[in-house]
Symmetry: C2
Subunit: 232 residues, 2 copies
């Protein structure tokens, strides 16, 4: 963001409680708040009191709460992708990207659920898009195909990861109840009206698990099959 106030030259005045505010400190505190007390714990007022400052002070650093949320999202992306460098195998590299993003989301389940579908427009997202599109270009796809396919890939990864994160963010009681539904409620399905469910009865337990890797691998297989360079 070019419009952003430079962090270094800021004329920072300590707050009432002596804390020196900064975008990084605010983002970290927000992430901590969400992680500790759930997504509903994130409000300007609570964030202010957690930082020991007036809520309105945050508006000196972020245009509004949406702006703050995008900063949090970008931070998650940055943490997830830290130290990652794409290798020569573009499929394997995209796969690792996917797993990293998912791990980053699962580390902050509640924040991830809010931010998965946003465009952060910040440096970490820039780098991730650069890396992903670059990998597809290196696979021989034309630029327009590379962009379209990267979008399909990353949207699948992000939305799937968000879904997993949302499940993880559920209260344990509710999560276990949802999982048990597949081994209990669905087992009682009437064979006449639900023949397919009956046939697959012994396998329905798999419904309780995440399909993230399966879906990513299916998608990557389809991408590999369409790569100009060959079937693999």
């Amino acid at each position: 963001m070019t419009t952003r106030v430079p962090q270094e030259n800021r004329r920072r005045r300590p707050t009432r409680s002596g804390v020196l505010l900064s975008q990084d400190l605010i983002v970290e505190t927000a992430l901590r708040l969400i992680g500790e007390h759930g997504p509903e714990a994130l409000s300007v007022r609570r964030l202010g009191s957690a930082l020991g400052c007036d809520p309105s002070a945050l508006y000196r650093y972020f245009r509004n709460t949406d702006d703050l949320l995008l900063a949090v999202a970008d931070r998650i992306i940055g943490d997830a992708m830290e130290g990652f460098t794409p290798g020569p195998d573009w499929v394997a590299s995209l796969r690792e990207m996917a797993l990293r993003v998912r791990a980053g989301y699962l580390a902050h389940p509640r924040a991830a659920a809010m931010a998965s579908y946003r465009v952060t427009r910040r440096e970490n997202e820039f780098r991730a898009v650069e890396t992903g599109v670059g990998l597809l270009l290196s696979a021989g796809f034309a630029p327009d195909r590379a962009v379209r396919l990267y979008l399909a890939f990353i949207d699948t990864v992000l939305s799937h990861a968000a879904m997993d994160a949302a499940c993880l963010a559920l209260p344990p009681q509710q999560r276990e109840a949802d999982q048990q539904a597949w081994t209990e409620v669905y087992q009682a399905a009437d064979p006449e009206t639900y023949p397919a469910l009956s046939t697959a009865r012994g396998e329905l337990h798999a419904m309780a698990e995440s399909s993230f890797e399966e879906a990513v691998d299916l998608l990557l297989a389809a991408l590999a099959a369409r790569a100009p360079g060959g079937q693999d």
Copy 2:
């Protein structure tokens, strides 16, 4: 629907403005509000004034806004799947299922975005799983594979649809800002640090669109390629 408080025997008193309240009327008004005035128009207070009653009257019909939201979600699912019967072509049938789910979500974005991660365990979900697993069984997959692959498929569809709905549910200002980011902020990327972005500069506008169909088609292609019966 039928398990709720019987609508018939209710001791319904006309509101101040003469309207007779009911669960159906409330749900329909909520959907209409969202459809006419955007997703952010749905609040208990606005819903109350749209119905010509005090906001608190709604709590006679729904435990809280969450309960109301689930009722709305149930209606959306029912509407989306109404009249659908799987055909002989399992790939085409799964594709139509996907498009129907998405259309249902997009028709009522905010409700869908808020309810997408819920497991209903109700009749409509039963029927959907039965249909989907049945289609994969008919394709020749063994039951365990059919279950796993259906899960990967439906999770991709649901999470993608939820993501699209969530984007649509954003306040217009934020949504447009997110979309413009690809044609403005990302255009200014430095060619030296972001060579791939530079190469694909003219195609980045595609990032603002939905990748739903592309992702579904990629996944279905991968499924078709793995079907025991052959590529089709």
